[in-house]
């Protein structure tokens, strides 16, 4: 029983990271109808920047905040420079753009910081959380930061005017322009926020997976699985999907014979395929109610 509880809690902790990645993917998908394959690499690069800042002597939380700000600006810049010109281009052109971005960021990180694995600090420590052997303080910190982030985002989208404008721009762009919303900038803002959310995910998972240019590859696949499971049209679904995938991954690795650590990743891919076959809209994918 203790093993089970332990695995579930650990699953929630990594699930928090998947939830962040899924949320970042869904935010961009909502804004421009494309999956950002480079989301993980962007998060990895942000994490390297925070690491670099710490190497230069900036304290953890200052580096954390500074990295969020830089990532936000970088996300907006990427949208303005690369994807705004592609807005009306065919799907495949956009896919090529995302793959190019993936390769550019991945190689640049390797070039600047090389491919050796680096230790990444945690501000929470790795002692048992509250004296319990079930979960470490870092895992608890991952869950805590994610919950705070989600609450903040919920508040932002539900109760601020700019959040309302962003939702409007994503759901019916033409109507949004007709009430005076600059939809183009709302998309850029979405990119900035998604990039910052990815940065949080990267900085929280880095102490677990260690810092290197390919650290987010697996994480992003879990994030995609989470987004597909929850429904690509539903930010809420993406978050729930993230936690579910985290728990499922751990339980499958522990209890299904022969899966172990090596086959965890294929399980995420199998999950994507199963969801697409059985329930393509995902668990919370929106069934838009319409009356004519």
């Amino acid at each position: 029983m203790e093993l089970f509880t332990n695995q579930v809690l650990a699953g929630i902790a990594t699930g928090a990271i998947y939830a962040c990645m899924a949320l970042a993917v869904v935010m961009i998908y909502q804004a421009i109808d494309h999956l950002n394959f480079a989301q993980g690499e962007m998060a990895m690069f942000s994490t390297f920047i925070s690491w670099q800042l710490m190497q230069w002597g900036v304290p953890y939380w200052a580096a954390f905040i500074l990295t969020l700000a830089l990532s936000f600006v970088a996300g907006i810049a990427i949208e303005r420079i690369l994807f705004k010109p592609l807005a009306k281009a065919p799907v495949l052109t956009n896919v090529a753009g995302f793959i190019a971005l993936f390769a550019i960021i991945n190689s640049s990180a390797g070039l600047i910081w090389d491919f050796t694995i680096k230790q990444y600090p945690t501000p929470f420590g790795s002692a048992p959380f509250l004296g319990s052997q079930l979960i470490s303080t870092h895992q608890a910190g991952m869950i805590g930061v994610t919950v705070l982030l989600l609450l903040g985002l919920y508040f932002f989208f539900q109760y601020t005017r700019i959040g309302l404008a962003m939702r409007a721009a994503a759901s019916v762009p033409e109507s949004a322009r007709l009430v005076g919303i600059n939809t183009s900038w709302m998309i850029a803002l979405g990119w900035g926020m998604a990039t910052a959310i990815g940065a949080i995910a990267g900085m929280l998972i880095a102490p677990v997976v260690f810092l290197e240019p390919n650290m987010m590859g697996g994480v992003l696949i879990y994030g995609f699985a989470a987004a597909v499971l929850g429904g690509l049209t539903s930010p809420f679904g993406a978050v729930v999907g993230g936690f579910l995938v985290g728990i499922f991954e751990n339980l499958a690795g522990t209890y299904i014979p022969g899966v172990g650590n090596e086959l965890k990743l294929p399980i995420a891919l199998a999950l994507i395929i199963s969801v697409l076959v059985v329930k393509p809209a995902g668990l919370f994918g929106r069934h838009i109610v319409k009356r004519v």
């Binding site: 759901s171 019916v172 109507s175 322009r177 009430v179 005076g180 929106r286 838009i288 109610v289 009356r291």
Partner: protein
């Protein structure tokens, strides 16, 4: 009477296809003007061109200021509220959020709150349903919501594209009654595009008839309604 909107030699294009062929008309401050014509005559395109939602050439002036080459969202800030065909409802959001979106360019939060209450007084059904998803409203209710959302801008000019479309005749009467009231009491100038010519002419004071992208007739709404020849050849009733 001062001219609020002046359109001169408007030509609009969908790709290679020209939809408007040098259309000119003007609209007086405080007036309720209707743009009539058959399917495909260019009524919707005219409204879309005013808001720069379609490629066009020619001069469009609002209160003497040129609107050409401005983005749709910046034209809204001049006080032009456009209710598009199909109503443009944010169907996944609540009724109240739709109203707030109508006022998204305004800065006076107290005024917005009181205007939402004013809309609920105009359209009591919206108050009953204010937390409901807008997509679940009936067609008539959605049209009320669209008009209310446009009014939340406190517009100088409201552009309405086929407000009667798909609505029961009784609901249309209701809606047109409210439009007349808004025009008289709130001093909002209205340009309404309609296929239901009879009803539109009853409501409007000024009318233009479009055929294949050109104005073919203009004048006082009553005169046009009483002129049997025009009615038979252009308006089909």
């Amino acid at each position: 009477m001062t001219t609020l909107l002046n359109v001169k030699d408007l030509r609009a294009y969908y790709g290679q296809v020209q939809a408007l062929h040098g259309l000119s008309f003007s609209l007086n401050e405080g007036s309720l003007t209707t743009l009539l014509g058959a399917n495909g005559a260019g009524k919707t395109t005219t409204l879309r061109a005013i808001c720069n939602m379609v490629r066009s050439t020619g001069a469009i002036e609002f209160e003497g200021k040129p609107l050409s080459n401005r983005s749709t969202e910046s034209i809204v800030r001049f006080g032009i509220a456009h209710v598009p065909q199909g109503r443009g409802t944010f169907t996944t959001m609540t009724v109240e959020e739709n109203l707030q979106l109508g006022a998204i360019t305004r800065k006076d939060s107290a005024g917005i709150v009181s205007d939402i209450e004013r809309m609920y007084a105009h359209f009591p059904v919206l108050k009953q349903r204010h937390t409901q998803q807008a997509g679940t409203l009936s067609g008539g209710e959605q049209q009320m919501l669209a008009v209310a959302r446009a009014l939340m801008l406190r517009p100088r000019l409201m552009l309405l594209d086929e407000p009667s479309f798909g609505l029961a005749p009784l609901v249309v009467r209701d809606l047109f009654g409210i439009l007349g009231k808004i025009n008289r009491e709130d001093r909002v100038s209205i340009l309404v595009v309609e296929q239901n010519a009879q009803l539109a002419l009853e409501l409007a004071d000024q009318a233009y008839v479009i055929e294949t992208g050109r104005i073919v007739m203009s004048g006082n709404a009553k005169d046009i309604a009483n002129n049997e020849e025009i009615r038979k050849s252009y308006l089909g009733y």
